[in-house]
């Protein structure tokens, strides 16, 4: 048994360093960076706002970072926003909304239902909107560069992002992705949107880890099944009443070739919509004494999570590009 074989073909944008100038500048660059990456890999712009002009007209108005840097204090204030459509026909809405410059709002519409709000520069609305994140994205510290990483698959149906500052994850680890469905009811597109804060992006079955249930702006994700929003949390094969039993060793019964990498699934405990939901593509448990940014042999997988040099810990392993040295600070 060796490393997992990635199920999807990924394009990875690594080491996108945003030299710190201000939180507003960082956020504008980050939002524009995310959007540009997606638009370069099969996602289309459904509409956008630069804070002054806006329409759901397919025009990308984020020509500069400044165009993405107009923050609105709430969704009914002019702000920079962009709606993108993926290969699932779902919409992702990035909008610079929040009470301070470090906050943005990330949401998606499984059915691709976003329309402009009554005032076009306000945050767009969707009847099936799933809000993933509404708290700090880049941290409030007004110093140090932020570095972001992005993944998109070759069919433009999965994307994932994370941000680091000073060798540690900060803000959301988020994405909107196709899953391998395990349900027998209406679930189309079979996608989930997820968002984890840095403290919850760790493997384990206890509270505060990816195998625990959804908590808004904290961990887990959202799907839309049976025409309703369903919060989901993680699941995986667990041995000996512990999800972390062998993650800090190289099990001898496998001839000490490495730590087990268990694939991850999602499920729902929402009343009337309970049960396993799906298996994730290319999510695996990481090694338990890892540091954020550790790569696996051949640099084919990389681990991000709670682990730091001072306190190594267990994270999640995602595919990597085979060559790039990750910059984590």
């Amino acid at each position: 048994m060796t490393l997992p074989v990635a199920q999807k073909i990924w394009t990875i944008s690594a080491n996108n360093r945003i030299t710190f100038v201000s939180l507003n500048d960082t956020m504008g660059q980050l939002l524009k960076g995310w959007a540009d990456f997606l638009l370069a890999h099969g996602y289309t712009c459904k509409g956008s706002s630069n804070g002054a002009a806006a329409a759901m007209d397919g025009v990308n108005r984020w020509a500069t970072a400044a165009n993405a840097a107009t923050r609105g204090a709430n969704t009914v204030t002019a702000n920079s926003w962009m709606v993108l459509t993926d290969g699932n026909s779902a919409n992702i809405c990035l909008s610079y909304v929040g009470a301070s410059d470090d906050i943005a709002r990330i949401a998606f519409s499984p059915a691709g239902s976003y329309v402009v709000a009554g005032t076009a520069t306000f945050t767009p609305t969707a009847t099936d909107e799933q809000v993933l994140w509404t708290v700090s994205v880049i941290g409030t510290t007004t110093s140090l560069d932020r570095i972001w990483f992005g993944w998109v698959d070759s069919t433009s149906k999965l994307c994932r992002f994370l941000i680091l500052r000073d060798s540690a994850l900060i803000g959301p680890v988020w994405g909107v992705e196709l899953v391998s469905s395990r349900v027998t009811v209406a679930f189309s597109p079979a996608i989930w949107g997820f968002a984890y804060n840095n403290a919850n992006f760790c493997w384990g079955s206890g509270a505060g880890a990816v195998l625990s249930d959804f908590a808004a702006n904290t961990r887990g994700g959202k799907t839309r099944i049976n025409s309703v929003s369903v919060n989901v949390g993680g699941g995986a094969e667990v041995f000996l009443n512990s999800a972390t039993g062998w993650q800090s060793i190289k099990p001898e019964l496998q001839k000490a070739i490495g730590a087990p990498m268990f694939p991850m699934s999602i499920g729902s405990a929402v009343a009337s919509n309970q049960g396993p939901v799906g298996d994730l593509f290319d999510w695996y448990s990481g090694q338990g004494t890892a540091i954020c940014g550790n790569t696996y042999p051949n640099m084919s997988w990389i681990e991000f999570g709670i682990g730091t040099q001072a306190s190594p810990g267990q994270g999640i392993a995602w595919p990597w590009d085979g060559s790039t040295i990750a910059q984590v600070a």
């Binding site: 048994m1 060796t2 490393l3 997992p4 080491n15 140090l144 060798s167 027998t184 009811v185 679930f187 880890a209 195998l211 049976n226 993680g234 699941g235 995986a236 094969e237 667990v238 041995f239 000996l240 009443n241 039993g245 062998w246 099990p251 001898e252 019964l253 496998q254 001839k255 490495g258 730590a259 087990p260 990498m261 268990f262 699934s265 499920g267 729902s268 405990a269 919509n273 309970q274 049960g275 396993p276 939901v277 298996d279 004494t289 890892a290 540091i291 940014g293 550790n294 790569t295 696996y296 042999p297 640099m299 040099q309 001072a310 392993a317 040295i325 990750a326 910059q327 984590v328 600070a329």
Partner: protein
Amino acid sequence: MAAPTIQKTWTITANNSIAFVSLNDTMGNYLKGMADFLLAHGYTCKGSCDGVTGAMDGVNRWTTVLKASVRGATTSTAQSWMVVTDANACDICLAYQGASDDIARFAFSPGGLYVVAGTTTFTPTATDEAVIMTGVTVINATASSDRVWAGWVDSASKLCRFLINRAAVTITAWGVELLNTRASMTQTFSPAVWGFGFSGANFFYTGATAFLANYSANVRGGLIRVMGANIGLGGGAPFFLSAGVWGNVQTELQGSVGYPMWGPLSVGSSNASRQGVVADTYDWWSGRNGGASSNVGDTYFTKTFVQFGGSDGLVWPWDGSTPNVGTGGASAAQNGYAQANSPAESYGQPTSGNTMYVPLARSAVTPTGPSAIKTLARRPGIQVVRLQALSADPAAESGKVLLYTRTISGQQVLFCRLPDGTVYQVGAG
């Protein structure tokens, strides 16, 4: 959603009620019943003892219940015993040995190595013996009520399992079975068998004292022999949302057709030096967790599966009959659906430290000039630290270990200086 696929072809002896006379009689009946069932389905008698005569000669001396009813207080006391050999070439040893009449000793030898003890009526011995249950009650110590046992053996005579109930409570479950070895289990593991023993109170799916918990001798889990030693195994299975697996919900996302039946359940080891995933069981699943009844003896589909152990108990194949679980028990019909384990695990080991880039030029280095002594803060991912040679040892510093280089006789040498002034050479180049 369909029923689980039964992997083995089972012969099941169901509803074997032992009318209560005494604990000794019940145990004799149970031991002889199990032995007869195995011998009728491909297991062979390697040797036996009726408490008076014992030999490893292939002769079955348990011709009556009384012959299986001689209890020895210890392994070096005359007792009824029988060793049977399965198609894995493993030996299973049933010995009526214990401090009281409700206790017996079940063990096996993966290598089929049982030989008679120095005194042939004593418990046989094997150098690789793995003791499944000993010193604990097998049939419950209460001197009343019928016991009802059931046995399973597969068509290849490589798996057998037994359990016994009293008054609708599962007392013990045990067996010696072939495992479906995981591809990742790369250590030599032949025969790939485990012997398992569960008390009724541990014959459940989830929790700290259940199948998914770690091995506990005479209580739960099982034993295998690998890498020259016997090691304990605990269970594994999918687990969602920190709360389990919807044991008492006919999950709506699967169409509300039944309770998820997770499996086949798996096993793994946390034994020091022998840790890791081992195998999947054959035909073990999770059962319903909850309901109006105790769930002991509840069946699924057309009575093709049965649950023992109570709510959150475990599910095995069944023969279509209505289970008899003893006085006061009732079998209910449950709905279920197969829910497969997640894809198997892979393995990898991240390379620590040297696969990240952290710019040293920031706060990592106190920027006091290129020739000054620098203080490195703790930083991840440092690949190379270049130390400029000193012309003399630096002064010792309280609470700090100093690492530095000097050129000695043309060789640049790495030193450390301890707070007490001691200097050690670390390396030379």
